[in-house]
Amino acid sequence: MADQSGSAPTLGAASVGSAGLVRQVLRSLPWVVAALFVLAALLAPVLAAYDPIDAVGGPMQPLFSQGHLLGTDGFGRDQASRILYGLRPMLIVSLGAVALALVLGGAYGLISGVHGGRVDWAMMRGVDILMSFPLILAAILVLAALGASLLNLTLAVAMSQLPIFARLARALAKGEAARDYVMAARAAGFTQAHIMLREVAPNLLRPLLVQATSVVALAALTAAALSYLGLGVRPPTPDLGYMVREGQELIFIAPEQTVLPGILIAVFALAVSFCGDQLADRETGGAGL
């Protein structure tokens, strides 16, 4: 990583502050979009015209057909309703998994970085072992072991993100531990726990939260990918990732069935990424991630 100590707030932020109304609207757009996704998922039972699991019309009706705005799938299920309900697993898994990974990984990295020495070495080899699997393979193994379900998908995605937070927190904590204020605290006789929690941790919180915002998108994408592979929520429960999979088989006759759910995954991931980016910008004064 680049030296984080060089990222003190600078005048770079002015380039953002001088924005006009259009720019303000553009900046709030990702937050609005993300909020809309959450709202739509929460209100799915109200918004959806049909039950997402029952066959409610003839199969393979095209877009904009009578009573079925987005048509029906191969089983005659209403696509619009399925998409609305399909938002739910994506949101639950991505937000839940990131929260879990932030807390556990952050604590782990903090302990490792502040302790240093042999403890640090041993703890990081533990992370190495966890990281011996590419993220998505680790998640696949967890799902293979636990079985496919919403909770297990959340755990698998959280576990695949744990090393990101552990390594970042450790790197940051190690940098902080070498600084004068920590040395001063040590000299003043504060306990290790006090130094970790009261001195170092507050300085890690912001970068970790910024990291968290930017990995919500990754979590959503990982969850969707696992669902695509058939390792997520079990059908017939609607899920955007699996809808892309089902739609792929109909790509010759109705490409919209695979394109539309995918667009929604992409738009959500993009909106959340922009939110994360804005936070990172505020953090580093324009030069952020």
Binding site: S132, L137, A225, V259, A287
Partner: protein, 337 residues
């Protein structure tokens, strides 16, 4: 430095041992057992018992574990429960395919990611910078599998330029030696293999390479911008060092450290991404083999594939870490106890 390398290398067998154990545990703790899966294929009870005994599934977990480890030391990954094929052979057939895809994806990622990052960092805050950042964000936010399907839709179905499925057309007769087509085409004197191979490789490697390029672009950009704000750069400017020299010798050299780490970490994303791309494009690599094995609970195959991918990844991680230490003089001496 040498001590650290030796320490890391000495730790390698430990990592591999733990990885092997985790893979074993993950897959033997499966809820739906292979036996039931097999039983649905071969319904007679007698045959079922025979299979259980043959596969060693009637032994205790400990015995199974010891047998598994013993076989592993002899590089024996067992046999597929479903096809009876030797897993080592299956790995040998599929791993080179994935390596080809990962390397091609890495090239796509490096060219687009670094290119965009350098261009954007040249004038931070400019229109070009804004556009490139937006592109990078979009690339990152694309679901890999869906992007692959879009590429199939556009380049295969609508334009008809590129094949949508597989690694080579079924009409091509190919007898693998190394199973790396570029090398085999030289060894066998078969330049005709390269064309079809490349056309099949383009869409999967674009899928993986472009979706991972966004992260590299952002980190390259921020690394360069952050570095150019540091004191030593200002000092160099004040000393009257020419701008180009500052950029190459001072800024890029320091920013390269961060970029190097990202590339190493991204290789993992690359292996993960190739799993997805292999499934989307029906590309016969080890990732697809693993996913199929997990779905059919063929755990000898899933175990073998996971283990091989993990070993590959551990080695790449180690190499990145050592390269990073070598490249950063401040880390050449370990600040340990």
């Amino acid at each position: 430095m040498t001590g650290e390398i030796l320490r890391r290398l000495a730790f390698l067998p430990v990592t591999l041992f733990v990885v092997a154990t985790l893979v074993f545990l993950a897959l033997r703790a499966l809820p739906g057992s292979t036996v039931d899966m097999l039983a649905s294929h071969f319904a007679t009870t007698g045959l079922r018992e025979q299979l259980i005994a043959q596969l060693g599934l009637d032994r205790s977990l400990w015995e199974q574990y010891l047998i598994y480890m013993g076989e592993l030391i002899r590089f024996d990954l067992g046999r597929s429960f479903i096809t009876g094929k030797d897993v080592t052979v299956m790995v040998w057939e599929t791993l080179p395919v994935t390596i080809e895809l990962a390397v091609a994806s890495l090239l796509v990622m490096l060219v687009t990611g670094l290119g965009m990052g350098l261009a954007a960092a040249a004038r931070p805050g400019s229109v070009l910078d804004g556009v490139l950042r937006f592109v990078a964000m979009t690339l990152f936010a694309l679901p890999w599998f869906w992007f692959g399907i879009l590429l199939i839709l556009v380049f295969s179905l609508w334009l008809g330029w590129l094949p949508a499925f597989g690694r080579l057309p079924p009409t091509v007769n190919y007898e693998p030696i190394t199973n790396l087509i570029l090398i085999d085409s030289v060894l066998q004197g078969r330049p005709d293999l390269i064309g079809p191979w490349l056309t099949h490789l383009i869409l999967p490697s674009l899928t993986v390479g472009l979706t991972t390029a966004g992260v590299l672009m952002r980190l390259a950009r921020s690394g360069i911008i952050e570095t150019s704000k540091l004191d030593f750069v200002r000092t160099a400017r004040m000393k009257g060092v020419p701008g180009r020299r500052i950029y190459l010798r001072h800024i890029l050299r320091n920013a390269a450290l961060g970029i190097l780490t990202v590339i190493g970490l991204q290789f993992g994303a690359m292996l993960g991404g190739s799993v997805i791309a292999e499934v989307v494009f029906g590309y016969p690599g080890i990732g697809r083999m693993m996913v199929d094995a997990v779905l059919t609970r063929d755990y000898a195959v899933a175990q073998g594939a996971a283990l091989v991918l993990a070993v590959l990844y551990v080695l790449v991680n180690l190499a990145t870490d050592l390269a990073y230490r070598w490249a950063d003089p401040r880390l050449r001496r370990d600040h340990g106890p």
